[in-house]
Symmetry: C2
Subunit: 442 residues, 2 copies
């Protein structure tokens, strides 16, 4: 008989990938580990050959496909390891991206937080194991690089940036009057009445100020995160499994701990509850609504996709994979407050609310040392850098970074060995700010 831990391992990445943002203790800085160049998946030969030799194979049910350095291959190949659902771009022509590349950007210098050794923008990319990055300024692409496992025909795991897409959809529905964010969750999802979510408001779920008895302590084999992983797995459950099957069944088991609204607590289960609220409100699952409201409207080049549980429920907390160019279109849509390619997709107030940020006092209790003046609103992060920015963030370095003062968007896909963004922020934050400064003054 398998232990709970062993059972959960095959699908561990589904959840671990999106929940580690606030956990830094699980990742270890290790100066002896492979560099970006050394760990390039092509260099290491993962999945090359017909068939790949055993020592180059990345496959289920091994539990290590999301560990470094294998994760540098896996982040571009999620669909090859598990079931997924399409987020259709439609069948029309994609919009053209406008390019005005600036070769000076590579040499922009900055000083990493806590360091006294300057670094250039170009050096920062490998230092953070960047797979794809684009900078848009005044609506034009001024910088682009795709490498590692990524190319322009590929897609990359967005990790917890998925939460920001779910939050954006919810904020659109609220602003359009289709969803009342003051309503209690139980009034929309009766199945959650007896759970910890029942007496939380939709807004508390959107801003992750719910108070839940839920542990993401990976060192504890009885932590809730393992049961969540196992419930969420799209693979057949073991014969003796009697726990919840799928996101929705699991969410019903979560109990309350404390008072809602007092403190920010970054827990993926809020995003999946929000996905459920969206589905019940609109009659459309998150993948479907995301296609209808966003992906079919932005001139996307590629359809995106989402991982699913064994009942076909999309993983609203972390399941999206998408092309880099299309993530840039999303960033541009946000920067321009709902307008893209001359068309308005939703009211400007949607972005105004996200950009204004959330409850700073509640956020401060979570002690994110590098996110100055930070908050979390509708599943987007807000912080000062030093001007106010808002950002979608996913473990291992994923970013949509919107800097209205600089009229700049940066989107990044990465496969940093450390899941926690706390490990790449000392380079990411000053590097992004240095580019903003350069673009403002050039």
């Amino acid at each position: 008989m398998l232990t709970l831990l062993q059972r959960a391992l095959p699908l561990l990445p589904l959840t671990i990938a999106v929940t580690l943002t606030s956990i830094s203790t699980i990742s270890h800085a290790d100066d002896s580990r492979l560099t970006a160049k050394e760990s390039d998946p092509k260099t290491l030969g993962w999945m090359q050959g017909f068939p790949p030799p055993a020592d180059k194979l990345i496959a289920q049910p091994s539990s290590d496909f999301f560990s470094f350095p294998k994760l540098r291959w896996t982040v571009c190949h999620i669909r090859e390891l598990m079931p997924t659902i399409e987020v259709s771009r439609g069948i029309g022509a994609p919009s053209k991206l406008s390019y005005e590349l600036d070769k000076n950007i590579d040499a922009i210098p900055f000083i990493p937080t806590g360091s006294n050794r300057p670094m250039t923008w170009r050096q920062s990319l490998d230092a953070n194991y960047t797979d794809g990055i684009m900078i848009l300024h005044h609506g034009k692409v001024v910088y682009e690089r795709q490498n590692g496992c990524l190319n322009e025909l590929g897609k990359h795991a967005a990790m917890s940036m998925t939460k920001s897409m779910t939050g954006l959809l919810a904020e659109i529905l609220v602003t359009e009057g289709k969803l009342d964010d003051k309503m209690l969750v139980a009034s929309i999802i009766p199945e959650l009445a007896n759970s910890g979510f029942g007496d939380a408001t939709v807004r508390q779920v959107m801003d992750m100020t719910t108070a839940l008895d839920y542990s993401e302590d990976y060192a504890d084999p009885n932590a809730d995160i393992w049961q969540y992983s196992e419930a969420a797995s799209p693979l057949p459950k073991p014969k003796d499994y009697t726990g919840p099957n799928g996101y929705f069944e699991y969410l019903q088991t979560v109990q309350k701990k404390g008072e809602h609204g007092a403190a920010f607590s970054y827990q993926t289960i809020n995003s999946d509850t929000l996905g459920w609220i969206i589905a019940r409100t609109t009659g459309k699952a998150v993948d479907d609504l995301l296609s209808e409201r966003i992906w079919q409207k932005i001139g996307a080049e590629q359809s995106a996709y989402m991982t699913v549980d064994a009942k076909g429920t999309p993983f609203a907390g972390g399941g999206i994979s998408a092309g880099l160019h299309d993530m840039a279109r999303i960033g541009s849509l946000m920067l321009n407050k709902g307008v893209i390619n001359g068309k308005r997709l939703f009211p400007a107030a949607v972005v105004d609310k996200i950009a204004a940020g959330g409850d700073k006092a509640a956020f401060a209790k979570a002690d994110y040392k590098q996110l100055k003046n930070g908050s979390y609103k509708s599943m987007w992060w807000s912080y000062d850098n030093p001007a106010p920015v808002y950002s979608a963030r996913g473990v291992h370095g994923q970013r949509i970074y919107v800097d209205p003062a600089a009229d700049m968007v940066i989107v990044r896909f990465a496969s940093h060995p450390d899941a926690s963004n706390g490990k790449n922020d000392p380079i990411s934050i000053p590097a992004f700010q240095a580019v903003a400064n350069y673009l403002i003054t050039k």
Copy 2:
């Protein structure tokens, strides 16, 4: 402990779907079963609701998701049930399809084989549980209908039409001099030297005239097809499983029985061996080469995808799902002998060889009663109807049907309750011929 049969069930459809073409005994005509309208997946409510109620759920590991009527949902949702790999369309603009719809087609009458009751074209669609159908004449779309689980943003399982894509790629390589079809398989794939494939020529594999000790008798729990299914499953193997893992390992276990070249024998394992030959010859797996040579070049609207085994090997014998419009582009490419949108993708000789058909004497031994003057060449079917046509055929009614004399292509996705095409040919064959006659004479 699971029996072999039980183990194989979850992934049974992967193989059953592509191997039943020659088996009619397993399917039972049943006049009391649900009609196309009654079995429409929307009407039956499959996978509706958040979450879907238990009796509307179609999911792993249930073994019945490919049985009627559930299969009418499943054929549009393969990727939601198992891992898949993308066949990228690229990121450019799709080509425009030219429309000149002809409303008279619905009323075209014909008499089904073995019947004396006339039927109209429109009636034939529901009679054959058609999900999507297009007719192209002189390069224009004269008829289109998508329904059931399919719409223009969706994709449908192509089943064994996948074999014809694999065969087309191989014929392109042969015609371009990159693959010698007279070579023995063992000289390209040394791992197959001691298998039944070892002393077969590439051409014998392409035309399925290999003589192999391989059984697809579904009534026999020890038939090879079950081991093939289990080996091919992308789901984690049972702990006590000691058999081959993946297509390539399985193919090495197949032994010879008789003499190659004497008789046509429709066996999916030939297509997977051909996929392996293509990969070794080009350094690209079938999904990759299909994207590069075909999908990125035809102006496709949607990327296609293929199912994979647990090592990421695409299922060259049956794994493709694609959009209907893009299958029509493939049909048009064939009809125009390698030219589409004014560009030549491969030499005309590729199609000339396929259109000329294969060894009729070898084919006659397999006793396909409805395919008059038939043969099988490079994994395309040839028969007279009454003029020579060639066709990609997949179980449950999938077709690309190219009629050069009528300058006509018909593509069809369907979810007929019976897997065997022998069950829908009595309607399909005269219906397609009636449309050809109408178009020629109009």
